[in-house]
Symmetry: C2
Subunit: 158 residues, 2 copies
């Protein structure tokens, strides 16, 4: 229940913040994973991939899926294969470059994703409804700065 006992004795603010951030994410993520499993017999990466496609009717290249989902290419092939076998997404050839393919939702995939997304939205709203709207906004803004700083920083190896 308390991952936050993890830091060193000095406990600088950044460390406390990180442990709490991790705890919150894990709480929500565990909830989402188990609900996806129970209610839809699916997994978070599969849901994520379909969610990436949902707003791109023309589909996305494997490349782009890999970058957006922050995992390497081989994994995208694997998840895509599963979803293709179940008829939820399809690979489409791209004219002009025969190495490339686009992946997009099938009508079945779209309707199934819509059903999942509706539930998913409910779980997420429930997870954060301890916050007032301005607090949600503030949290969103602050995390935006964290993300931005990461994008700006060349990821030092020291």
């Amino acid at each position: 229940m308390d991952m936050e006992a993890r830091g060193r004795s000095e406990h600088p603010e950044a460390l406390r913040l990180w442990l709490r951030l991790l705890t919150c994410t894990q709480l929500v993520e565990k909830q989402v994973r188990s609900q996806l499993r129970e209610q839809f017999d699916t997994t978070l990466p599969r849901f994520d991939l379909m969610a990436q496609l949902e707003r791109k009717p023309e589909g996305l290249k494997m490349n782009e899926l890999s970058r957006r989902m922050m995992v390497t290419g081989g994994n995208i092939t694997g998840i895509t294969d599963q979803l293709v076998n179940e008829g939820l997404v399809e690979r489409v050839e791209v004219t002009g470059d025969r190495r490339v393919c686009r992946v997009r939702l099938t009508p079945l995939g779209r309707s199934q994703f819509d059903a999942m997304a509706r539930q998913h939205e409910g779980w997420i709203v429930a997870a954060f409804d301890g916050l007032a709207p301005p607090e949600v906004e503030a949290l969103h803004r602050l995390l935006g700065k964290v993300k931005q700083h990461f994008n700006d920083t060349p990821l030092e190896t020291a």
Copy 2:
């Protein structure tokens, strides 16, 4: 790079917040995992388990480790076995209940953890140094409300 394209078209605030929270956590977590691997040839769960023990010289029961790390018991046995084999932690019998054992850091484990924690702290400080101190504080406080709300809510299955 942009997990946040994931939500539905309506994009209520809670959903946007969740996607950003997840993105930030994954960015930091990937960084920490790869540094732990490169610099100390260890993993995040192993580091976490040692961190739990660091502030408890008397050790923790397997039970307590399981609860704190939010994973089931069998996994705690596995990670503990590894660390015992490397001489970093030890199992201690508990008088009065022969089913129970406490796990605690060995002197070697403690000194090795200290070295890791020093580096770890640096990675975390770097991850959040795009925020001013009052912003760190605000973020910490808001996430505290999220966590609290989770603890208070009996985890509805609908």
